[in-house]
Amino acid sequence: QKIFVGDQVLRIATKDVEQITLLKDLEELEHLELDFWKGPTHPDFPTDVHVPFASLQAVKVFLESNNIQYSIMIENLQSIVEEEKIQISRSRS
């Protein structure tokens, strides 16, 4: 079973079209194995990206060095998935 221990989902707030373009460039970097839950579209709307633990440092450095604001939407994806499993089991019992 695929596990997501340490994976985070970042909510990224862009301030202009240039930053959107930078996020689109980031999307192209396949080795980071990013999964854009909400793609970069417009500075008015946030971008959400699932970042595997192994790529976290690289992505955060990229964002910070380009002055792109972000917050951590999900701190540890695996713990949310586990919580969901527990809820499903509870509702069954």
Partner: protein, 312 residues
């Protein structure tokens, strides 16, 4: 699996496995066989059956409304909302004047699990799986994005040719049996008047096109109706939606579902992106299922009502 005596004892505020959903469908059909039937429209890559529920009071190939949920398997709130809405239709028929009058003249089809292989995979192997489970020759990566696999601008910008991408379009249009099954059914039926495809999450109601900037011929009417629908949706919990054409509201996306349905002549073609709490993304807590389904239902009813009142 959950023990179910009847569809009233089913827990609509919880997420369920594929087996549980398929059992629930059988239960609904057996309880209201005068109104609901199950149609097997095809099989998946891994040979699971693809079912739709038909709500009909009689007649042959009446004007019809299509609703599908869960073409992206990880968007669990959509399948859960589909179950709630199907139950709502079955319960309201004969009690609610609007649903009764619609069903006396039109049929409603609901496909609750549009991507069964992917959905099974999200429950067993990878909660974050989005695509189908077909294999790709020459690549170790699995699956095709079924919302890039339709014959509408297929292969254009806004879809990937890389099998490892989440938006991989597939080797050719309709390569995915999950898509082809719907295409064949919609074509053979020939009388769909509205087609609503439901996704999550980002709170949007969108209409064609996604593959081209050329406005849909009915853009003004679609836009007005979208506004009316999201106004109705927001009356329940104040949830705010954006609306517009796919390409202008989000980004260019080729090979999408409702671009194909619109090009087939189904004027009222819409796609929803359901609730976003801003905290959970695709892992929306189960306590959000019913509020999400309730508010979405108000928008869907608005689209159905307009379709009913504006025959074409």
């Amino acid at each position: 699996t959950e023990q179910m005596r009847n569809t009233n004892s089913f827990n609509y505020a919880s997420y369920h496995t594929l087996d549980e959903i398929y059992s629930w469908m059988d239960m609904l059909v057996s309880e209201q066989s005068n109104l609901v039937s199950k149609i097997h429209i095809g099989s998946t890559f891994e040979n699971r059956p693809i079912y739709i529920l038909k709500f009909s009071t009689g007649g042959t190939k009446r004007p019809a409304i299509w609703i599908d949920t869960g073409i992206h398997s990880r968007e669990w709130v959509t399948q859960a909302s589909g179950i709630w809405m199907a139950k709502k239709i079955a319960t309201d028929y004969g009690k609610d004047a609007f649903i009764t009058s619609i069903l006396n003249e039109m049929d409603i089809f609901i496909e609750i699990v549009t991507n069964p292989d992917g959905f099974y995979f999200t429950h067993t192997k990878n909660r974050m799986w989005r695509k189908t489970r077909s294999t790709n020759s020459g690549s170790s990566c699995v699956g095709v994005d079924p919302n890039r696999n339709w014959d509408a601008g297929f292969g254009g910008a806004g879809a990937s040719s890389n099998p490892c991408s989440e938006t991989y379009r597939g080797p050719r249009a309709n390569s995915e049996s999950e898509v082809k099954s719907i295409v064949d059914f919609v074509k053979s039926h020939g009388n769909f008047k509205a087609f609503i495809s439901i996704h999550s999450y980002s709170q949007m109601l969108l209409y064609p096109y996604g593959y081209t900037k050329t406005p849909a011929a009915d853009q003004q009417e679609l836009d007005n109706l979208a506004k009316k629908a999201i106004d109705a949706l927001s009356t329940l919990y104040g949830t705010s939606y954006r609306y517009g054409s796919i390409i202008n509201t989000i980004y260019q996306a080729s090979g999408g579902t409702i671009d194909w349905t619109y090009n087939q002549g189904i004027k009222y073609s819409y796609t929803f992106e359901l609730r976003d709490t801003g905290r959970y993304g695709f892992i929306l807590p189960a306590n959000q299922i019913i509020p999400t389904a309730q508010e979405t239902w108000l928008a869907i009813k608005t689209i159905m009502e307009h379709t009913y009142n504006n025959p074409y």
